[in-house]
């Protein structure tokens, strides 16, 4: 039986449908999860999708971290459940302290929507094992608060431990420190990234199908472990 991957819908989530679709295209079974329901229904992995959870009213991701489902996800992530946060999902993972640092207002203050070149730097995570080290990919980015920041010691630690998963190439879209587009936790089961792999899984609608690797990676991991 193919693995079941859950996607959480928060009030204000936008990309949950695309994430569910990408999961289906990659060969896994998509499962809808609901922010107010703490039950994860036995899914094998979870994706926190892009959008504007709770309107981003206070800070991006700040209110979502208190959602009932997040309590279960934080606990499960500590026990190794694969969790991918995309865009707003990345912001939520940082607010929930599953990943270090924070995402702040783009340096130039403009919302940036474009196809973005990235270099995959860490391929030992649950979500990036399908890529080659140093592989360049092209997937969309669309965010106004995507500038990754962390204090100097945290940044040094992330770099020393090889926890940068992807960097922006050919232009940093938001002023992110060290051109960081994606980071991971030490175990490699939690990854957050600002650009959108779920929008690059079909030639008809995406700039490439380079995003598919995130979804096939977790499938490969689960195939080996479930």
């Amino acid at each position: 039986m193919s693995p079941r991957i859950g996607v959480v819908t928060f009030p204000g989530s936008l990309d949950d449908r695309d994430a569910l679709r990408a999961i289906r295209l990659s060969g896994a079974r998509p499962v809808n999860l609901w922010h107010a329901d703490s039950d994860l229904y036995g899914v094998d992995a979870v994706i926190l999708p892009g959008g504007f959870s709770y309107g981003d009213y206070l800070r991006c991701g700040a209110i979502a971290k208190f959602a009932a489902v997040m309590g279960s996800i934080v606990k499960a992530a500590d026990n190794g459940l694969p969790v991918l946060g995309i865009c707003n999902g990345f912001q939520i993972l940082c607010e929930a302290h599953l990943l270090p640092g924070a995402l702040t207002r783009n340096q130039h203050l403009h919302f940036r929507t474009r196809d973005q070149h990235l270099r995959i730097e860490s391929t030992s995570t649950v979500w990036t094992n399908a890529y080659e080290p140093g592989q360049e990919i092209l997937i969309p980015i669309k965010s106004g608060e995507g500038r990754y920041v962390a204090d100097a010691s945290t940044l040094a630690e992330i770099e020393a431990e090889g926890h940068v998963v992807a960097r922006y190439l050919r232009g940093n879209p938001n002023g992110s420190q060290h051109d960081i587009a994606a980071i991971r936790n030490a175990a490699g089961n939690v990854v957050g990234l600002m650009p959108h792999p779920e929008h690059a899984v079909e030639a008809l609608t995406g700039p490439s199908i380079d995003g598919l690797g995130f979804f096939t990676s977790v499938l490969a991991h689960l195939g080996a472990h479930v």
Binding site: L58, R59, A62, F66, G101, T104, R105, R147
Partner: protein
Amino acid sequence: MARVVVDVMLKPEILDPQGQAVANALPRLGVDDVRSVRIGKRVEIEFSGEPDLDRAREIADKLLANPVIEDFALRVEGEGEQT
């Protein structure tokens, strides 16, 4: 009314592009002696009973501010600042 005021500011080392944009607009007002502008948030919390600084501090720490990038200061309105 019992009210606690919380000021949330980006830490000094965190870039504040919004403040910079305001600073860059000041010369248009004929103001040319401002070195920097930083923008934060002021939050007013009203308790139904006595103002509870400890509860307010917990609210600020867990929700109003992100300690990774922001500092906060709070005070009961009409009194001095406490951090």
